[in-house]
């Protein structure tokens, strides 16, 4: 890998062109203690689209994703300078409760992580948490259908979720996340722990989900980004100041990023010259 020193130009065509994005992030810097993890990232997440974050390992794409729902707060030394606006409101403004932010944004993790409870209780978890007053069974069935899991589990809703296969568990986690109809669904390499068949199932699921949800997905698999993402944001690593600092190199329609990238680094990454 041979990341060159990049001039501190900020490329953010997506941000300006997108009207009323679901999320508008203007991140100046993310620090863990004294370590600068990410710099100069301006990203717009369009509604009802899938935005893919790609880039070599260590480029900060997962860090940026987790900054969108304040999950990085769990690390004591985390500091973000900038604004991240969710539906027009800066979630890093003073007085904002991260717990409230996370209720609006769903997250699916790399390793499937259902709770050690029944399938029904897993999907209903978010409903109970938010004191939903409607029909639980209806909502759970709807979420499971949307996640493409209903037929496989409808007869064993009371059985423990941990007994499902990896791919089923991940679809359950998706069902759990969408049961509360989140504003944005964040997915951090959701298929990397799954076999190719399960991966295809979830990719098809994602394409169907974007009709109703806004999805941001981090993936290290370029082909997956090409198959699934409408907009792609390419992150790269800057080693000019001694450490590995990630930054947004280029963002735009997936077609354009992969077939007509404007920046040299992007061109070299999508050509497979480094990973």
């Amino acid at each position: 890998m041979n990341a060159l020193v990049k001039p501190r130009l900020v490329i953010a065509p997506a941000l300006e062109r997108v009207a009323r994005p679901a999320i508008a992030a203007r991140i100046e810097a993310i620090h863990y203690g004294t370590f600068l993890a990410v710099r100069d990232t301006r990203l717009a997440i369009e509604r009802n689209r899938i935005t893919g974050l790609i880039g070599p390992s260590g480029c900060g794409k997962s860090t940026v994703l987790r900054s969108l729902n304040r999950m990085n707060d769990l690390v004591a030394s985390f500091r973000l300078q900038g604004q991240v606006e969710l539906l027009g409101q800066d979630i890093y403004a003073g007085g904002v409760d991260p717990v409230a932010v996370r209720r609006h944004v769903g997250m699916v993790f790399q390793q499937p992580n259902p709770f050690s409870m029944s399938i029904f209780d897993n999907v209903a978890f978010g409903l109970r948490l938010n004191r939903y007053r409607g029909d639980y069974k209806q909502r759970v069935e709807f979420a499971l259908r949307r996640a493409g899991l209903w037929e496989e589990v409808k007869d064993k809703l009371k059985s423990n979720a941990l007994a499902l296969s990896g791919g089923q568990q991940q679809r359950l986690c998706i069902a759990r996340a969408i049961a509360i109809e989140p504003a944005v669904l964040l997915m951090d390499e959701p298929c990397s722990a799954l076999d190719p068949v399960a991966t295809r199932v979830i990719e098809a699921l994602m394409l169907d989900l974007k009709r109703d949800y806004t999805v941001v997905i981090v993936t290290h698999n370029m082909q997956q980004a090409m198959r699934v993402a409408d907009t792609t944001a390419f992150f790269s690593v800057d080693i000019s100041s001694g450490g590995r600092t990630g930054f947004l190199c280029e963002a735009g329609p997936t077609e354009q990023i992969f077939h007509a990238p404007r920046r040299e680094l992007t061109r070299r990454y999508v050509a497979g010259e480094f990973s």
């Binding site: 409760d97 717990v99 409230a100 938010n130 949307r146 049961a179 109809e181 169907d208 009709r211």
Partner: protein, 320 residues
């Protein structure tokens, strides 16, 4: 994929921000968790403070001479725990000596392939059951079984080897020896369990290296495995010693409760814990304060040993 319509008209988002109740509950939870930690820390300090405060009048009156005198006479107001300190340390050291040999032997026996897995599991359970038996039951067993069993042995040892200090007196029934035997049995499971852990943590490749070089099994054990597990075994000994120091009931029932200092294991003796057990219920006034002073001494010794043991275990963990 088939398009699925939500059952309700226009699925509305479900989320609400955390209510005031939820925020308060979270604060209470955080506070409660911190408070629980403080309770544990405070408990130790509270114990030290309460016992120390109770001992203060005696400390002021008797000073450090308390530690040097072997006379315990409430009637004359003379108190000294030298005999008890001696008894505590002597009995614990002897018991540890026995328990360490047996405990490490058991640990080697169970981890170095002398038994097949199922038998080893059964034996391991048996040793753990030993740990589950209450101290008073061991005391009762000691009175009924150990003392009569030791009589002929003690008589023989005293007759033929009576010139050796440990066998210098005739067997007096309740004495140091049955106390030490029972104490060793009670400490054995601790030493065995922690030593087993230490031996299991030696990586397989170390063992294989020894065998690969042509070592016999006993050479592999004595020259490679034991040294590799040495710090863990040491920790087991320190913690076993700590357990021995704190043991009360069985010793109180077996040791004879006599304030004499003697090298002989067949003579009655006393420990700090047994002194407390036997004298505390009837004590009053200055004797109570003196007993609290004795309790402080026991506290200091056992805390010291436990702190050392915990530190040794912690260093082992770090060393991996």
């Amino acid at each position: 994929m088939k398009r699925v319509e939500p059952a309700e008209a226009g699925s509305r988002p479900v989320f609400r921000p955390p209510s005031a109740g939820e925020v308060v509950a979270d604060r209470i939870f955080h506070a409660g968790a911190h408070a629980a930690g403080v309770v544990v820390v405070g408990l130790l300090f509270g114990i030290v403070a309460k016992i120390g405060l109770g001992a203060w009048p005696a400390v002021r009156q008797l000073g450090l001479g308390f530690l040097g005198s072997a006379v315990w006479d409430p009637g004359r107001g003379e108190f000294g725990v030298l005999a008890e300190i001696w008894g505590t340390l002597y009995s614990s050291c002897l018991a540890l000596a026995i328990a360490s040999v047996l405990g490490v032997a058991v640990a080697i026996f169970l981890t170095q392939g002398f038994l097949d897995d199922r038998l080893a599991a059964v034996f391991r359970t048996a040793i753990e059951m030993l740990a589950a038996i209450p101290s008073v039951v061991f005391g009762l067993w000691g009175i009924t079984v150990v003392i009569p069993a030791l009589r002929p042995v003690a008589a023989a040892l005293h007759a033929h080897l009576g010139w050796l200090p440990p066998f210098a007196t005739a067997f007096s029934g309740p004495s140091l020896a049955p106390g030490v035997v029972v104490l060793a049995i009670m400490v054995l499971p601790t030493v065995a369990a922690i030593s087993q852990d230490a031996l299991r943590r030696v990586p397989d490749r170390t063992r294989e290296a020894a065998f690969g070089l042509g070592a016999t099994r006993s050479e592999a054990i004595t020259r490679v495995m034991l040294p590799a597990a040495a710090s863990g075994i040491l920790a087991s000994l320190v913690l076993g010693f700590g357990r021995a120091l704190g043991e009360t009931m069985a010793l109180a029932m077996l040791i004879g409760n006599s304030g004499r200092i003697s090298w002989s294991v067949f003579a009655p003796a006393n420990t700090l814990a047994s002194l407390l057990a036997s004298q505390f219920p009837e004590a009053s006034g200055t004797e109570t304060a003196a007993l609290m002073y004795a309790a402080t001494v026991l506290l200091a010794i056992s805390l010291g040993v436990n702190v050392v043991g915990t530190l040794v275990m912690a260093c082992n963990r770090k060393a991996g």
